[in-house]
Symmetry: C2
Subunit: 207 residues, 2 copies
């Protein structure tokens, strides 16, 4: 055994409670879990929200493919097992960030209900429980496919990419998301404002 966590318990004193950091930051830590089809607009919404919050002096941080798939999860592939582990690890990291008092925004397709529900459970089981805000970026597949900035739908339709969510792999929409954002019907600004307003009403941000 390299690391035996129990050795730590007796020794250290002066733990900083979550509330201490939250008071410092003037906000409450939470995880905003964006889910939706490829090209549905998750990252656009996520990064715009982050930008808005940081401009307002709030601590927000986005976890997305860029900083996760190339780092923590670079040893995971796309098997069913690895996909589940991908989301589990992201969920655990989001939980750590939320525990640190940060408005944590995750931007991943995360197509399966079971995986997202597991992450919700992780947050609920934290002591004290951490807020988990599931946000369904509800953009019709035809709109996503028209956007298709990297031509991935095209490749999937041509059979060059297999198991592509929305083409030949299912997307399981959330049954009870905290928020639904229809990016095809609303402007980006309105979507982001709705999210920010939700955070304020829930008391995660100062009024």
């Amino acid at each position: 055994m390299t690391e035996i966590k129990a050795t730590n318990v007796v020794w250290h004193h002066g733990h900083v409670e979550r509330g201490g950091r939250e008071k410092l930051l003037g906000q409450k830590g939470c995880t905003i879990w964006l889910t939706g089809l490829p090209s549905s607009g998750k990252s656009t919404v996520g990064f715009s929200l982050e930008h808005l919050l940081v401009q307002q002096g709030r601590m927000a941080y986005v976890l997305d493919g860029d900083n996760i798939r190339h780092g923590l999860n670079k040893n995971l592939g796309f098997s069913a097992e690895d996909r589940a582990e991908n989301i589990r690890r992201i969920g655990e990291v989001a939980k750590l960030f939320a525990d640190a008092g940060i408005i944590t925004i995750t931007s991943f397709v995360s197509p399966y209900r079971a995986d997202r529900d597991l992450v919700r459970k992780l947050h609920e089981e934290a002591k004290p429980a951490l807020p988990f805000i599931e946000v369904y970026i509800d953009t019709p597949v035809n709109v996503c496919e028209e956007r298709d900035p990297k031509g991935l739908y095209k490749k999937a339709r041509a059979g060059e990419i297999k198991n592509f969510t929305g083409v030949d792999d299912p997307y399981e929409a959330p049954l009870k998301p905290e928020l639904v954002l229809k990016t095809a019907e609303k402007s980006l600004e309105d979507c982001v404002a709705e999210l920010a307003s939700y955070l304020q009403k829930q008391g995660f941000l100062p009024a």
Copy 2:
């Protein structure tokens, strides 16, 4: 493919640069990597530093066995492969926290040089590079063994725990750590003050 990071790149705009968050927090993100034998005092030093910093209005967060081994790394055991993966994942998470502008403190035995060097490399390769501060908690094994708050050395000596660092598994001391703290020769307050002073001199904290 569930998640194709490249889809994100074209779409989102308004990324928050690391400097934006650092300006907000009035500090610079970095990883303080505490390494040393079991019961050497890593967590005591780490949590005391966190406490001091948060009291001073700084954002600090400790990653340790409590929040990692029971969460992100709960699916890892103690094989050579799993030990390396344990440290790699912690290193990647520390890198994310440091990128968010946080004074990130990790408290793990992390006995092998190769594992720690990999984490250092991860930080150096970040764009821009992230500061990695290796701190050797240099406590003689006999002192650790006297402390032994959970009786783990005793169990290891009795053969009840196998491959216990410091007893029947090697600890590879850092060759060029940024800081060495001798907890058997100095008070806890002095050790923590030395660390805080180092952070200030390096410009991670305001003077």
